[in-house]
């Protein structure tokens, strides 16, 4: 009997859920705004002229399609599976984040909103939002944790140059989750004229779906590119997971094709066993935060625990609800890489391929570093090279004991 190579998959359901995960856990005031967004999105999702507008921007403004690059020297060095990189680092603004903001800003305009807000961790989503806001002449406010402002000062300045106002958030742990709290507070206050551009496949429905769909251009391109390049789909796709937008973007078009193994790599910080990490899928419990039911790092009283990761973009105690579901049904395997493993891979790719990856992406590289030598040379691994590492210069220098 021929084994099944396809599965059925239609999520989220009509309640905005991926199995038990997802949903709309927000204050009553925001429900109307979410319903408006849901309505407009379901309308434009299959609207040809809207989709053409998005594609035009992705091509001419972002610079898509992004290349699929064979990392030949690194492959040789590891001596196993062939490693390819999906070059999202070559996008305008330097990461996959712009795929989503290009689409969401058009949604904002459709809804007649004059003001956009965003949360940001590493600053890439903030920059991507500030960029599209500048292009469309919208007011833009970006919320960023005080600690992240310090470690990502280059991106803070980029946002300011683009005309965005960067609001420092000094509550709680002063990182991404607190920036998201503050963005929610702004949204609930200015809900009538403001669209909240969430930067990950997180938050209340319909955000996980919208952000996934806009990012899934990555996986769609990869399907075409891999057919052309190797006459088949990759054997394995690897991506880092914080909230999980770059991973969902590259995984989603492949979910039904079960011959392609999908691996998400979380931030292991000082090691999952140390408790100092940002890996809720590896070491979290189901709960509700930021509008969604998902795996969270929390204590027995439901208090959200502080996270730790060398990469600001993965420093988040939750994860998109679709990842939670994909983990539970076993369609995606979730692994973690520590700060040190990620830093090592950062240097290795930089020196071997002349490509400087973001520290977030370096977590995916670290896993491949481990797994590729164990696989046969006929296997093909594709890594979503989700962003470039220029923004991380200060962090890397500090880790290496240098001051710039």
């Amino acid at each position: 009997m021929k084994s099944k190579s396809k599965i059925n998959y239609t999520f989220p359901d009509e309640n905005g859920r991926f199995g038990e995960f997802g949903g709309k856990y927000v204050s009553e005031t925001l429900i109307t705004a979410l319903e408006e967004l849901e309505k407009i999105y379901s309308k434009v999702k299959n609207d040809k002229s809207f989709q053409e507008e998005v594609i035009k921007d992705l091509n001419d403004f972002v610079g898509r399609p992004s290349p699929l690059y064979f990392a030949e020297r690194w492959t040789e060095k590891l001596g196993g599976a062939k490693i390819y990189l999906k070059r999202e680092d070559l996008n305008h603004t330097g990461a996959h984040k712009i795929n989503n903001t290009v689409g969401q800003v058009l949604l904002a305009k459709k809804m007649g909103k004059k003001r956009v807000i965003a949360e940001t961790g590493a600053g890439q989503h903030g920059v991507a939002t500030a960029t599209v806001a500048a292009r469309h002449g919208l007011e833009c406010i970006v919320f960023m944790g005080e600690e992240d402002i310090e470690r990502q000062s280059l991106n803070v300045y980029r946002m300011k140059l683009l005309g965005a106002k960067v609001c420092s958030v000094d509550s709680g742990t002063k990182t991404l989750k607190d920036a998201m709290n503050e963005a929610m507070r702004d949204w609930v206050t200015n809900v009538e004229d403001t669209h909240y551009i969430i930067g990950s496949v997180a938050g209340p429905h319909p955000y996980p779906e919208i952000v996934r769909d806009f990012n899934s251009i990555v996986g769609k391109e990869l399907k075409l590119q891999s057919k052309k390049e190797f006459g088949k789909y990759p054997d394995m796709i690897v991506a880092c997971v914080g909230g999980g937008s770059n991973a969902m973007g590259i995984f989603y078009p492949f979910i039904k094709d079960i011959k392609t193994k999908l691996v998400g790599v979380e931030a292991g910080g000082s090691g999952v066993k140390s408790g100092k990490h940002a890996a809720p899928l590896s070491d979290g419990k189901v709960g509700v935060l930021h509008g969604m039911k998902t795996y969270l790092m929390q204590d027995k009283n439901g208090q959200i625990l502080p996270t730790h990761s060398v990469s600001a973009g993965l420093d988040y105690p939750g994860v998109g609800p679709e990842h939670a579901y994909l983990r539970d049904i076993g369609r995606v395997e979730y692994q973690s890489a520590t700060d040190q493993q990620a830093l090592k891979s950062f240097h290795e790719l930089t020196r071997t391929e002349g490509i400087m990856p973001a520290l977030e992406t370096s977590h995916a590289l670290a896993y491949v570093n481990k797994i590729a030598p164990k696989l046969s040379k006929s296997k093909i691994i594709v890594i979503n090279l989700s962003g470039r590492g220029d923004k991380d210069m200060f962090t890397v220098a500090k880790e290496d004991g240098m001051t710039l």
């Binding site: 709309k24 856990y25 709680g172 507070r185 208090q303 959200i304």
Partner: protein, 258 residues
């Protein structure tokens, strides 16, 4: 008759209900308990007790800090239930309503309703649990006769309001403004219109909260509703280490609305 039904039965055109909000464990377990006692003796009709949470998304800066102060003292859910039990020992009539975020209530899993009942809690307000997601949660609470107090906001339309009213009990909490706790309340007429609309659709009492910081606003808001909720201003006193003034402020509110 539940404690909440009893208290609202006493309302009339001239007598309105004063609801106070403080955070359990702020500034410490002992002091917050003392403050709750003082609130009752100076006229609070219903105690809304905040369950401190690491990520209080709907709160303004004053209440956020109250949550942080309480968490610094390592307040756990069982401590909050203990506070409720202690209040209940002395006072069998004042309704107690716990207000917090979904993740805190989830931490008690299927024991929640039973534990709340045993602690003498009458109702629950869950800020991030809208009507749409609340079906099983509501049913679980109802098994122990605990009310799930619904929040209604300026953006809630009539169709939705009617759906919500079909599964509401206790009282309704009208959020007077689009925003966070402690924000500036500007549009009185709009609030009045909306409260009248809600009252025309239900027999449940409607209290108004968010942005009520002085006796003048309290009086105005109480004139067309069944009562008012005051939180930020009381917590202001705690933050400024002048908890002693809470009693006289509460008395003045009570006088203003009656």
């Amino acid at each position: 008759m539940t404690r909440l039904e009893k208290i609202f039965k006493q309302t009339s055109a001239k007598k309105k209900i004063l609801v106070t909000y403080t955070v359990a464990g702020d500034p410490s377990l002992k002091t917050s308990k003392k403050i709750l006692d003082d609130l009752v003796s100076s006229g609070a009709d219903i105690l809304e007790i905040g369950v401190p949470f690491s990520d209080p998304m709907s709160e303004g800066p004053v209440i956020q800090k109250a949550h942080e102060r309480a968490l610094k003292k390592n307040i756990e859910f069982k401590d909050i239930l203990n506070i409720c039990k202690q209040i209940r020992k002395k006072n069998s009539s004042v309704p107690i309503v716990l207000m917090g975020y979904m993740n805190s209530f989830l931490s008690l899993k299927n024991k929640l309703a039973k534990e709340l009942f045993l602690a003498g809690v009458d109702g629950v307000i869950v800020v991030d649990l809208p009507y749409d997601e609340s079906k099983s949660f509501f049913e679980n609470l109802r098994q122990e006769d605990i009310d799930l107090i619904r929040l209604i906001s300026p953006t809630t339309d009539s169709k939705r309001l009617k759906q919500m009213l079909a599964s509401s009990s206790g009282y309704l909490y009208y959020v007077s403004l689009k925003g966070i706790t402690g924000a500036e309340l500007k549009n009185f007429d709009e609030v009045k219109k909306k409260v009248k609309k809600i009252k025309s659709l239900t027999h449940l009492p409607v209290v108004v909260g968010f942005g009520i910081k002085d006796t003048k606003t309290a009086k105005k808001m109480a004139s067309f509703s069944d009562g008012i909720v005051v939180g930020t201003k009381i917590i202001d006193f705690i933050e400024n280490k002048s908890s002693k003034r809470i009693s006289s402020f509460t008395k003045s509110l009570k006088k203003a609305i009656n």
